[in-house]
Symmetry: C2
Subunit: 355 residues, 2 copies
């Protein structure tokens, strides 16, 4: 609806667009309301401040700007930011030197998904100077790949379950007393043979048929496997990796402690961000959510710049950054876009033609 309104009744003149752009850029870098004389000074428009004042008045009436109080400068509204992001910000590439630095860091580390995510989070946080978030890549539908059992005592074993997306789930399980590694191998061989490549539904079916013959602890093992696959299939993005929380404190908007606490809570309790992140899994390119627009009221005062990454339908996650609404969007978009693309190609390299 918002877009329609902009398109239909509110065509801005080139000068208005220019003024809006300069104002928002100035506000993003200064964090202080911008007045007509500032705009006149930094934007070489060749008109007087009075003219600019008139234009500002119009932009305010149209809802792109507000004044914090009667005689301060102007500040962008969410609608203003959205217009800025969609129409005024040119898509810039991340400077080649920064691209090189980032690539270099990625090539130095091990081929470990965990480490990739950690590094992505670190790189995003550092480059954008805000909090980053990264969710692990997940398959749309999990498949059984491999089960392995390692004895750790007479009645306990480590169960390692590798699912289709290449992630291993590790957990201690209790076995029958005096089960040795040979016994464990027999069990895992049997199920690996039966279940390889199967989906949750098929695994569940096989488990039910096969279980009549299975020992007690083996039944629990099977139950646990289906449960893990269920959890993996359930709409959930899993754990959120994050870095750079301290960066948030740089921004004056988070001096108000309550807002900061909200950010901390969002990062620690994934549930708040989950609906947003899940929606991202079906998108392409960098998506921007500004200050709790639309259905996202919960994240008032916060903007998100996010992108899906990975191999579509096979192993996709979400990465991006979170910052104040007054965020340097151009830079944020190019950073997030670059990291997403880089990690995606690394994954494709390793996972190859992997189904």
């Amino acid at each position: 609806m918002a877009e329609e309104a902009i398109a239909a009744e509110e065509r801005l003149t080139p000068r208005q667009r220019e003024i809006l752009k300069i104002l928002i850029q100035a506000y993003i870098s200064s964090a202080e309301p911008v007045g007509s004389s500032t705009i006149q000074r930094i934007g070489q428009l060749g008109v007087s401040s009075a003219t600019i004042r008139n234009e500002l008045c119009i932009l305010e009436e149209l809802g792109y700007l507000t004044q914090p109080y009667t005689s301060a400068g102007r500040v962008p509204t969410i609608k203003g930011y959205r217009y800025f992001v969609e129409q005024l910000v040119g898509r810039v590439e991340l400077p080649a030197s920064e691209q090189r630095t980032i690539r270099h860091q990625f090539h130095q580390i091990r081929l470990h998904l965990d480490q990739w995510m950690r590094l992505s989070a670190a790189v995003l946080a550092q480059t954008s100077r805000s909090v980053s978030l990264v969710t692990p890549p997940r398959a749309a539908r999990s498949r059984f790949r491999h089960l392995h059992l390692v004895s750790i005592s007479q009645r306990a074993a480590v169960m390692i379950l590798v699912l289709g997306d290449g992630r291993a789930h590790e957990e201690v399980i209790l076995t029958a007393d005096y089960t040795d590694q040979d016994g464990l191998n027999q069990v895992s061989n049997r199920w690996n043979h039966t279940l390889r490549g199967r989906s949750l539904r098929e695994v569940r079916a096989s488990a039910e048929t096969g279980l009549a013959s299975a020992e007690g602890w083996e039944g629990e093992l099977l139950a646990r496997i289906t449960q893990l696959m269920e959890e993996s299939d359930r709409a959930s993005v899993g754990e959120i990796y994050s870095d750079g929380l301290a960066n948030v404190l740089r921004h004056p908007e988070f001096l108000e402690i309550e807002r900061f606490r909200r950010v901390v809570n969002m990062l620690q309790h994934a549930s708040l961000l989950e609906p947003i992140l899940l929606r991202m899994l079906n998108t392409n390119g960098v998506q921007i959510i500004i200050g709790g627009e639309g259905p996202y009221e919960a994240i008032e005062h916060v903007s998100l710049v996010l992108s899906r990454y990975g191999i579509k339908h096979t192993a996709s996650g979400v990465l991006g950054i979170m910052g104040p609404v007054r965020m340097p969007y151009a830079r944020a978009i190019s950073t997030v876009g670059y990291v997403a693309q880089l990690v995606g190609s690394l994954m494709a390299d390793v996972y190859g033609a992997y189904a």
Copy 2:
């Protein structure tokens, strides 16, 4: 040294001890300097405020108290807190009802180390209303237990390495082209046979002898295994689990944003806390570090209540909480002690007579 000084020259009279205790308790709960009349009111000492003032004066001279400014009430110094913790706080048990709640939560979850740590962190944070930290249990010296390779594409596999402490390390490695699961099994069987139960040194030796015959990628695999074992042996506590960061913001001492930022940094960059946590691994019982005493200047304004947990020498970690120096120590000590003991006994249950 500090203890000696206290013992030798500074015997406090019973009344002074009582006054100090009341003052610190009052300060802990109110966060505001405590004056002589407050002490008279809440502690039934049967003396006038003037007498209390005299005693306060002495306690200040001895270094247990200070005044924020000339005519405010008194506030404990670090020395005061230390005396309080060591001599005045009786060791109380956690209320039975809270013990029950905590036990209940632990019995509801899976036998997964990761989950235990997460739950410990959550319980500690919630019960103590401050930030919690938990490090994974580690063996003093790592031993090779089991290697497993799962093919995920023609040239990549998931390597799963289980070490002596039962932790699995998972990582993607590149293999020779067209290596299938059978090929991987051959490799892992060979090394499992040779290396089971071996220490880092022995593994390194075997790797060198065996490598002449090994293919290129197998060499890298071996190198990676020794590297992982080295990392595990190196003085390091691993990743720190934490919860309840937002709780810190409840305390007025962290309204000063810089202090809060320090806390965030400590939690995200384990290196700052590592020396402290490592030292904890050789202790028994709950240890208390108050406001960067002694060698811990870096953690000024913060107190730690920590305890080792797990099975000594086999799999020990550290858990505890971090909060303002003005911390309800009695409660903190009993909470940390209880959780450490509980997790320890759960681990003993599962790992059993496990070497």
